[in-house]
Symmetry: C3
Subunit: 356 residues, 3 copies
């Protein structure tokens, strides 16, 4: 068995370079295909480990209203769809380019009602910013002068709270406390100078259980002015967790329509968790520890390691993953009913794919 592990390593290394040898775990080759690096050459999923590690039985027994084989087929279909990618065509979290007005970065948002495809052929009414769920990513740098103009095309009044961003009180976005509500058809202009860096959010603060629940939410990321004060990382991935519109979702999509997280071996990956839902989501990454470096945008004085990070509603956490181990690593909420059912994985599931 010890030798077998060595051969496994070789096979794995090869397919991670592009699945060109026709050996290795085909699904991982397909993951790379989903990332645009290789054609998706479907193979029997039993190719590699089964030869050595598996002893099979003549046939499966019935269970849960399905035979074991029927159940497995459902599970496999989900994984294949995830690996093939392109389950849905829309995508949230797109960068929002500001227009410059002198030295002010102007971001334009429009709140409106659309049908959002959170999983293949499954749509739900969503109240979104700029027709995206999550809304477009606003990204600025400490010291920037920022203006956010919101046009309200919802059937209700609204307002934006910049959750975690230090702003003057009258820019805080709470109707009847810091501003009047923005009526349907009206616009409102927020303007402030950025004082703190980190992973933050923007979302409705009016009738918010409903409005945020329906999708009035997005990421507001602030890079530090002095880049040398930022955490060291090569690639980053934003993960907005939700359990409302579209059910259990990561970045507005439920598995298998979720996107894989992709990095190369040796890279340091920064993940920015944001919980816009109503439930905790303890996010478990397989195979590689997470170094927790910031809470709500504030650097932790003493980072610590974990593999399962409990993210509560309204919280943001930044972690760094040192991508030492190639492969496709499952990555999901560990409240298992947010991630898997009799018909396979769904909801808050993705994978970290580390390419050699």
């Amino acid at each position: 068995m010890a030798k077998q592990l060595a051969s496994d390593l070789i096979s794995r290394r090869n397919f991670l370079k592009g699945a060109s040898l026709g050996v290795g775990i085909p699904v991982v080759g397909t993951v790379l295909a989903a990332c645009g690096n290789a054609p998706a050459t479907a193979q029997s999923p039993t190719a590699m480990p089964a030869d050595h590690n598996m002893t099979t039985a003549p046939q499966g027994q019935a269970g849960g209203g399905m035979t074991a084989d029927e159940m497995d087929a459902h599970h496999e279909a989900g994984i294949k769809a995830f690996l093939a990618g392109k389950e849905t065509t829309t995508k949230g979290n797109q960068p929002l380019e500001p227009k410059m007005d002198g030295d002010v970065k102007v971001f334009e948002l429009t709140s409106s009602v659309i049908q959002w495809e959170y999983a293949k052929d499954q749509k739900v009414e969503a109240w979104v910013y700029n027709e995206q769920l999550p809304g477009p990513v606003i990204r600025v740098t400490e010291g920037d002068k920022v203006r956010v103009v919101l046009k309200n095309q919802l059937p209700e009044s609204t307002a934006i709270h910049f959750h975690g961003v230090l702003v003057p009180n009258n820019m805080d976005g709470v109707p009847f406390i810091t501003q009047p509500p923005i009526k349907p058809g009206a616009s409102f202009t927020y303007e402030f100078t950025i004082r703190n860096s980190g992973s933050h959010m923007y979302h409705s603060h009016h009738n918010a259980t409903k409005q945020v629940g329906k999708g009035q939410l997005g990421a507001f990321i602030v890079d530090p002015k002095d880049k040398s004060k930022d955490f060291a990382y090569d690639v980053e991935h934003l993960m907005i967790l939700n359990d409302q519109v579209g059910g259990f979702t990561i970045n507005g999509k439920g598995f298998p329509a979720t996107e894989p997280v992709v990095a190369k071996k040796g890279q340091k990956l920064r993940i920015r968790y944001m919980n816009e839902g109503q439930l905790i989501h303890p996010m478990h990454l397989h195979g590689l520890p997470q170094l927790v470096v910031a809470k709500d945008g504030w650097p932790l004085p003493q980072p610590y390691m974990c593999d399962t990070l409990n993210v509560a509603p309204g919280e943001r956490w930044d972690v760094i993953v040192d991508c030492t181990e190639p492969g496709a690593w499952a990555f999901h909420c560990h409240i298992l009913s947010h991630a898997e059912g009799d018909n396979g994985m769904f909801g808050m599931v993705t994978a970290l794919v580390i390419q050699e």
Copy 2:
């Protein structure tokens, strides 16, 4: 727009000195009124920011069974009621003065059943200590000799557990493990010397899902003997979170009957969170970071910053807020369904008002 922000700042500063100029955000002036600093002069809530920041539409569209204007009116009424204060006349968390028996501080508690007004004109049967919800605050100093005499006027037996306070085993308050239950009509005397400081609680430990759920709970605060070992703060605020009797409450009241947290600019505010409920409550303070300094009464060796602090049942957390930014800052549980509905904010909502 840049100039407008400057004028905003001036307006804000003026009304925060007492709303005497008749300009500024009127609701914040009203907040100060609620704090007893200025008359509540009702003004259009659109006075300040709307002139410059708002572009209005001719009329609102229908939404959620109400027009947008009808919905906004409900929301505004809640905020106004909060700002006006005095929604309810009763108040929990009152200091309990001990009687001295030699060098022993004697605290007398009576458990009884009352009707508790958790929000205006909304009462619920509550099982309380000394007719308060939360019960009166027991506050002592490390090294104190303490006696707590409980008289049980409930229809069930009971017992008190001093949650977090280090006591001898036979004073731990668990019927049939450390003491007999205290029958209806009976009294029991707890006596111990205080060994640890911090933010603690006392509550029933008999049929506790029901008894704590109905209100058998209160704060037990221990100041360190050596004050120089305490955290530096100017003002403090106790926040007992609950999700049982009276629904979602802070200190026994649901918004708008909750009390604002009040501090002056430049002060360091200590908040003592205690969760006596059955659910987590991630508490989000707008506008100012929270420095987390203690967990369950024990100082953290390495305080850290956040804006949303997840408080689980049974936990206590101490945070320090450096009150640098004047204004009325929303402060609420970020499980939004604990805080807001179609008819406006309710439950676990208050505001931190920082006066200049």
Copy 3:
């Protein structure tokens, strides 16, 4: 009253030496009996503290459909059953002895369906490893070569994920991503070299909401190769928290069938919390603080103190308790509805018994 406390201490000390004097709190003497140190000599539970601390009333009042006395009798029966021990005969978490194949430690697991007695005379269908719930404890040392052979006798396919253990990707146990599913009747061999120490878990990663929910779970503990790098402790206790098969359980049992945690005065007790359920469980230990030393098997750079530790699904936490205070200390989930009802304590309740 001060003198009374002194006499309490004497009584307590005596019974903690074995209840041999026939004085002291009898229930605690019974706890020791449950630990095999003394005969369970039933006495009136009012013996000690009532004499001095209790003032009784002529009779209890009705409450909750029962009289107070009836309710107390239910509560007392539960405590007595817990103290007497042996509520159920089966036990999970048994050490799994490996067979040696050269320098490889071989652990054999069989998944099968049984009836599990989670509380006295209460059985439930469970999908277990080696007929135990939790499954047997796999315990190895950093650097060990480990082989785990799983034989699947479930009606569904399955696979094992070694949650927290660093393994090569193809040993990660996720069907259709890293391996084929293990069909009913089939076997699969996992093999890897242990790279990280700590408190980890193994469980199904196929149809996992159901399979882990039904009991496909166990502890995987890795001792550091260099023992001097481990935390200092004298005794340890594993606590696998669950809220699925059998309801609210600790180590597969609900109170009063749970086992007490036992240590001697002066010992350092290490507790390894593991949450295999779907809900958070904030674990509250009475009487003694918990020093939190590791998260998910990774040592915290800065341990901190608490009395209530919130354990989320998939998380593991290691704490050290300095057992300075003799007695029987209640130990339970502080979501009270996981621990107590009108008929007494149930579910996630045990006690830490510190013997002199």
